[in-house]
Amino acid sequence: MVMRPEDKSRILTEVQSRVVEEKVRLAQDHGQPLDEVLADSIYHERRRLSDDRNSSSKDELEFWRDAQRQLVRTNERQQKELLARIVQRYALEICGNFDERVYKLATRVGPPSLGVLLNSVSPLRLATRFSSLPSLDDAVIIQGAAEQLRRLHELGTVILAPTHVSNLDSIVMGFSVYRMGLPPVLYGAGLNLFSNRMIGFFMRNLGAYTVDRRKKDPLYKRVLKEYATLTLELGYDNLFFPGGTRCRSGAVERKLKLGLMGASIPAYINNLRAGAKRPKIFIVPATLSFQLALEAETLVDDFLKEVGKSRYIITDDEFSQPRTVFDFASQLLQLDSRIYLTLSQALDPFGNPVDDHGESLDPHGRSIDIARYVTVKGEPRILPQRDEEYTREVGQRIAEAYARDNVVQSTHVLARAVFTLLRLRNPQVDLVRLLRVGGHYEDMELREVYHEVGRLQDELRGLSGRGGVRLGETVQTGTAEDVVADGLRHFDSFHSKPACQRRGDRMFATDRNLLFYYQNRLEGYRLNRHHRLPPALTADHRSLRGDA
């Protein structure tokens, strides 16, 4: 089940009527005139289009010019009609072009697997080299609450909330959902992902809808949220990346933008009001852990740009180059690398844990009647400020789950050790300077690295024993030498320059930025206390600490 055609038209009609009614109500009761809403849309869209002069934007520009002309001489009824047209336009753009024939073909031949990925990026290479590649099936390890996810899918509507490191995340998620025996989930994919025609084609038909992050019009965001709300109400499982965009620093995401996650409460309330049979919405945090990240170089480069200069949307990264994606995937798989997908215990839209029967639990395991959270004078009611607060709480619980279910792998531990030693060897150099121009020393003795890796392993094993983090196989059971060797093998395989390199009995920090990126995966676990070094990142993991 992706989207039933009858649901698609229902959603389009309903989104339009709900958003228009809401805006008309706000105009009547709260003094937010319709013409201002319309003028705002026209302003934002014309501004966006003035920066984007490709062929398709000419039609769009014409639409908005026309809208502006109409706005000047309209009465209230005409304003409402214009609003309805804009909302419909947005809704149509967001909604995927679901085609049942393509869906059947895609599900018969297999999931959006490595085959599809490689086929879509390079059919020629696939023909010559694919036969020798191990399959994604062996590489992806799905662990945690997978069984619970399957049960909750039967009991209500599920929102998968994965960490976001790479554009490959959606492909790995799609593959994993298929392998768990679940139908494809709907998800909002950035417009830039559709630029690869084959990937775009499959994504569109396997449940992806379009999110154009260049659109700043609040009305567009409102339509997007209502679209997500309606799909949840109709029982479509969804995938939202709560981080909003790929994490630039490489750290486990801590402060989440949440965005569409806020659709879960209105969807639940609307379900209660409509007396839906399965009104509940379940949120399942999902932590993806890779040894290497495809776009690491671009992302960390963007992170280290001066504040305010970083880009929210990156269109020219490694993902946009099919050959790079191919090399990355094939090298990762040839290295016998593991991609861990850890599913955490589900949450309700108020941040409470949910058991296998779909019951929400309080901290003592007592069952909670969650309808009471949204009850006002005996009726379920939407209150935006209250609901936003509930969603913020969900965000905190998701971030905690990410930290607990992050799987630490060799590259992270090795990068952490080398970067820490680099900081200790250059005590007079602050972190910003160390990253931008380097310190006095760029190398260290190998035995120091082994010692630091061993120390980190001990600390991480203790933390993992207390449930604070998860460890990959080599980090858990291997020696420090194993971890260093495994880390170096990975670093050597893909990036234009390895993060660090061994030469004889010394270790060289060959790309400080990459070391920083991979070591950041261990930020937030208080591992620096031993050396009394301040953390490299601020508490929200979104910027460099000024005093580090």
């Binding site: 108020f350 409470n352 309080d362 901290p363 003592h364 007592r366 909670i368 009647d369 969650i370 009471r372 959270y373 949204v374 009850t375 006002v376 209150l383 400020q385 209250r386 607060e389 509930y390 913020r392 709480e393 206390r529 301040p534 953390p535 508490a539 005093d547």
Partner: protein, 326 residues
């Protein structure tokens, strides 16, 4: 419209005062207090108030539940309340101090760990129970992440002399209240040692600096400490829990041991545990909470009050911009 039902958990001075204000504001009030003797004496002081025999009976289906218990009892009472708590209830508390446990545990965290409630409101600022009972104006801060909590409290206090100021900074108001008690302990020592008003001012300023540093490290807004919940709480000399803290500070400075002084007072003095927890909390940072260290040292019997206060009076008072590591 039906009168809201307000459950008051705890029948001490503050509990009684809250019950009276709520009653004057038109709420239907139920009070739970721990012992039958206390219940009997409440029956004499509070008229038209339902006296409940258990926490559950008092709080079941109440619209608002107000915790007026000492920090040490909060977890126990909250756990009982958790049996009947529902997500639509508003929970208020006026606990000023760290709660027992391994870390620096703030009261709202205890309420969250023991119940399913979300709409928590923290009462802070210069709350003084006798003022609440008289008809004089009282200003208080109500910190809650939910607008609804403020609205319901405002409805209850609308026709009373209580003026509630709104804040969203739950952590800040709790930390400000907790640390003001540590300051009060130190002020008690200053007075016993007759160090004068200047010393009193330095101690209060240092207390505020430490509150801000600890608060910000825990996620509070720095502005909270310059508002009614911070500075505003220090200016009036008689705030709810201040007197017993002064009294204990005095006794300690005069050489009484903590155990004896507490036994003589027969009341909980939250500032003792708060000072200890702040010292432990700051142990891994570059920040030295000299006031909390001094108070903790005197309470633990490891430092003389005179020497400990000397360290506070000579400390650098510059309000650092840095934040403790968290």
């Amino acid at each position: 419209m039906n009168a809201p039902v307000l459950a008051v958990l705890g029948g001490g001075t503050l509990g009684q005062a809250v019950a009276k204000v709520a009653q004057a504001g038109g709420a239907k009030v139920r009070v739970w207090t721990r012992t039958p003797e206390a219940r009997a004496s409440l029956a004499e002081t509070l008229s038209d108030v339902e006296l409940a025999e258990s926490v559950e009976t008092a709080a079941r289906e109440a619209q608002v539940v107000a915790f007026c218990v000492p920090a040490s009892a909060l977890r126990h009472v909250a756990r009982q309340y958790g049996e009947v708590a529902t997500g639509d209830q508003f929970v208020l508390h006026a606990v000023r101090g760290a709660c027992p446990g391994a870390d620096f545990i703030l009261p709202h965290r205890v309420l969250r760990e023991e119940t399913c409630v979300r709409k928590i409101g923290v009462l802070g600022g210069p709350l003084y129970a006798p003022e609440l009972q008289s008809n004089r104006p009282v200003a208080a801060v109500l910190a809650s992440r939910f607008d609804e909590t403020y609205e319901v409290v405002q409805r209850i206090t609308a026709n009373t002399p209580v003026r509630v100021h709104r804040s969203r900074d739950v952590v800040g108001v709790e930390v400000a209240g907790a640390l003001s008690n540590v300051s009060a302990l130190a002020v008690g020592m200053v007075e016993a040692l007759e160090l004068g008003d200047m010393a009193r001012g330095v101690v209060l300023t240092q207390g505020l600096i430490e509150a801000a540093r600890v608060g910000v490290a825990l996620g509070a807004q720095p502005e909270t400490f310059s508002g009614l919940a911070g500075v505003g709480d220090l200016i009036p000399r008689h705030v709810t829990s201040t007197e017993r803290h002064y009294e204990l500070g005095r006794a300690l400075a005069e050489g009484t041991t903590l155990a004896h002084a507490l036994r003589d007072m027969g009341k909980e003095v939250e500032g003792v545990l708060t000072a200890e927890r702040v010292v432990a909390f700051a142990a891994h940072s570059h920040f030295e909470p000299v006031l909390c260290q001094a108070v903790h040292g005197v309470c633990a019997g490891t430092r003389e009050a005179g020497e400990a206060l000397e360290a506070v009076l000579t400390a650098d008072l510059e309000l650092g911009r840095g934040v403790m590591w968290s």
